[in-house]
């Protein structure tokens, strides 16, 4: 069973890695952030699988922190997004 869980973690990582192509290709920065978000979920999933697969419950805490902060980088992105700033919206 442990082998299966670790194997599943590998597959998840490999799959979301494909999404990284979006980070490279873009075209918009929003796409890049989406890909990063997907990788975040995949990473959390992989960590949970590893935690169960290696009997190290403490690893779950790493996933917990990642889940908590996954939104954070995206929030920073939206806050500093080049497009809509309050003043721009008012002008249009």
């Amino acid at each position: 069973m442990h082998e299966f869980l670790i194997g599943a973690a590998s597959v998840v990582m490999a799959i979301v890695a494909l999404g990284l192509l979006r980070v490279l290709r873009g075209p918009g920065d929003a796409d890049r952030m989406m890909a990063a978000q997907l990788l975040g979920s995949g990473g959390i999933a992989a960590l949970l699988l590893v935690a169960a697969g290696t009997d190290r419950p403490a690893v779950t805490d790493v996933a917990l922190v990642l889940a908590l902060l996954a939104a954070f980088a995206s929030a920073a992105f939206v806050r500093h997004a080049p497009g809509p700033r309050p003043e721009d919206i008012k002008n249009t």
């Binding site: 169960a52 779950t60 805490d61």
Partner: protein
């Protein structure tokens, strides 16, 4: 008992992995950002949810189970809000076709 537990885990985790796969394909293949965003949300919610479901029987007591569900809820919550924010940014930013 053990056997049933293993079957549940294998099924749920496999299904979860499949949803991650679907989400990635969507992200890569769909033509416009909003569709891609949609695909991403699916993967986030269902993929992670199913994997958490599959791992619940292995959790470290009740507290461990609560933590697992909590992680899923957190990912749900931030995923949903972030998706909304990105969607707005995309619309306002004029990057959508």
């Amino acid at each position: 008992m053990t056997f049933g537990r293993d079957i549940l885990t294998i099924l749920a985790v496999t299904a979860g992995v499949f949803f991650f796969f679907a989400g990635t394909v969507g992200l890569l293949r769909f033509p416009d950002p909003l569709c891609r965003l949609h695909a991403l949300t699916k993967a986030d919610n269902l993929g992670l949810g199913l994997i958490v479901l599959g791992l619940l029987p292995w959790a470290d007591g009740v507290w461990g189970g609560v933590k697992l569900v909590g992680i899923w809820l957190l990912a749900q919550l931030s995923g949903a809000i972030v998706t909304q924010m990105i969607a707005r940014a995309v619309r306002h930013g004029g990057e959508a076709p």
